[in-house]
Symmetry: C2
Subunit: 242 residues, 2 copies
């Protein structure tokens, strides 16, 4: 069986196999080496994600994933008292929930490579434009998320990664380093464009490469076609099959 | 565990998670419903693919795939006596190998939905252009594949599907119905452009939808976020978790 890399998160993970998506790009990079599995749950916050842990990552699994990305917080950061408040989770609980997720995954497999990813920045104007395009005059007047508040969640995520000595991607900061990030990286002020997906892909890959999960160094699951002797094909398969 | 859909084939399957790829599009369509797993082996013909069967589809599996696409033949159709002759497999053997693959998968699971896909047409001029771009004057003068010969393999594939009463996609014929198929659907005379990938995606989806594997009719693996009561989230998970 090929090693498994699990992408665990919300809609930004769920949508990661769309054209140009970071999940599909990872799957392509690891083709014939590892399976990249999408476990993205649109609209989920960390509180709801906890209910999935034992189902998605059973402690009894004989073949737990070798790596997982944990990419949550965009929904936790929905503001209390606004239209998306049902998704809101207080910052302290967010951090604690992430800690529980990490603890569970490490219990699944102490060697699992975990990468914490902060939510991307929020373009409040882009969110408003998007809401207007859907609901016209009925769109909410007050933003349901602000970039500043999402930044507080991002900080919690990075702090936790430091505390636990885990690799992390500060997507919230990283994206804002680029001028015009609002339209360049975000399609509706929150979700990712193809270029936004490319940022996530590159950052995840950098961490995987720096750890022990570098695709070019991983063996093919079966012989490359060029090493198969056409007169005696079974030889290549005897040598390289497990 | 989510049901698994396996894409078994050669490079056209292996590359199916590139941007716009038919595999990634299927994975996106079935997100939260089924896992789409890439088992494409670039350069492989049906003879070499047979060596993989027991590894990829062990008869002892408690959770065999619910569906598989079998997409081979582009390499079998490489001409004897030309530069790619090591990949050549005679047409009769090609058909017989496909039959053995189908038999094995049906032994794995009699209910597995199998879809046979013929190789795409070959644009000999495009192949030549591609070879020249790689090797300049040293490129082979005679084509290593012809569209006519690949058509004979495609016919064998469709005949076998009829014999075994399996759904099939005559990609060889289908693509040639569109004017300019040579550049529109093929990037190097053999592999698929984004538009070529879209054809495969649409055709596979049509068959899945007509069978019992229609994504819109399949349940989410866990509650949709909108049905989670934020005051009492465990309720939704008690009801919908297995």
């Amino acid at each position: 069986m090929r090693p498994q890399i699990v992408l665990f998160g919300d809609s930004i993970t769920e949508q990661s196999f769309r054209a140009g998506g970071w999940g599909a790009s990872l799957a392509d990079t690891y083709s014939r080496k590892a399976d990249v599995v999408n476990r993205g749950y649109g609209g989920y916050n960390t509180r709801w994600a906890l209910f999935l842990l034992h189902h998605l990552f059973p402690l009894s699994s004989a073949t737990p994933p070798v790596a997982a990305t944990i990419f949550l917080g965009a929904n936790d950061a929905a503001l209390s008292g606004r239209t998306s408040e049902r998704q809101h989770v207080p910052t302290e609980e967010y951090k604690e929930n992430l800690r529980r997720i990490v603890r569970h995954l490490k219990e699944c497999s102490p060697t699992m490579l975990l990468v914490l990813i902060t939510p991307p920045p929020v373009d409040e104007f882009g969110r408003k434009e998007y809401a207007s395009s859907l609901y016209g005059d009925k769109a909410m007047e007050l933003p349901e998320r602000t970039n500043q508040v999402t930044g507080v969640y991002a900080k919690q995520c990075i702090e936790l990664a430091k505390e636990l000595d885990l690799p992390s991607i500060d997507l919230w900061s990283k994206m804002q380093e680029t001028e015009g990030w609002q339209k360049k990286f975000l399609s509706d002020g929150l979700h990712l464009t193809a270029e936004g997906n490319a940022v996530v892909y590159r950052e995840v890959l950098k961490i995987f490469n720096d750890a022990w999960l570098s695709a070019p160094e991983m063996p093919y699951d079966f012989p490359h076609h060029s090493v198969i002797d056409e007169k005696n094909p079974e030889k290549a398969f005897q040598q390289q099959c497990f």
